[in-house]
């Protein structure tokens, strides 16, 4: 599964999005601050789930900013972390 689809599945599982909303996530879809399900507690769970499933470690000083602004930002962050 490509990273984009893995992240869609994680967002669906963590936030309880329905399949249509998860499938519609594209690079420009805004996340933190725009998606009502994604509050600060949910961000924490989302990042831990990403660490567990995609085998990366996220440092505290990397949390926030562009990586959570849009779906494309999150994809780019995870790809950079994985060296892809």
């Amino acid at each position: 599964m490509i990273i984009e689809d893995q992240l869609r599945a994680i967002l669906r599982d963590v936030l309880g999005l329905d399949a249509a909303r998860a499938d519609a996530l594209d690079a420009d879809t805004p996340l933190f601050g725009a998606m009502p399900e994604l509050d600060s507690m949910a961000v924490a769970g989302l990042l831990t789930e990403i660490e567990d499933r995609l085998h990366i470690l996220i440092e505290d000083d990397e949390v926030g900013g562009e990586m959570l602004e849009t779906f494309g930002g999150l994809v780019a962050f995870v790809k950079a972390k994985r060296g892809e």
Binding site: A9, S40, M41
Partner: protein, 220 residues
Amino acid sequence: MSRRGPRIHDYAGGEFMLAYGDTSGPQLLVLQPLFEEMNRCRVLIASICRTLADDSIGCWLPDLPGTGESPRGLETIRWQEWQSAVQAAAAVVEGETGRHPAVAALRGGALLDHALAVPAWRLASTSGRSLLSDLRRSAIASGSDPAHPAGYTLSTDLAEALAAADAEASPAARTVRLATDDRPADARIEGLPLWRRPEPDFDAATAEAIARDIANWIKA
């Protein structure tokens, strides 16, 4: 069905425990997830307990000191008190039923199951370090003080013990994970990580899959 419950029990000097089901069959002490995950899993765990109770398995659900319905504040709790509380809860089960309970531990609950020398079933066990990361990150994301994340104030003793706590390797433990989690496990089940949901949520298929695996394990 009159014994399905839940019934309310007292343990460890004023702490709160619910009990479901018959007292004459196998008995199960359920160790709940910790912190926010406990709230998110309330409905899931109640459903699992009712299903198991209908299958003649007695379920006991303690709220650890400083959590849930406990009269005490979390900031006063030391790690050792949680371990002692698990033992006290098991002693109540033995007193009420004459049977040693097996343990089913979900998520952070598995950090405490070794307080009892009994067979343990574990779902998606996680490390204390990972739970602390969740709390710290939620504080960072909300712009609040990382020392008091999301209203959870931990004593220094509890935070230090959690940082070092992991589910103890045990040949008597059955570790179950969700199919989406590829870390080592004895079995994988199809289900949703409801402990991650920002709002408490429920999925009947997840609850049934968990209850089925516990029932097969405890009866084996």
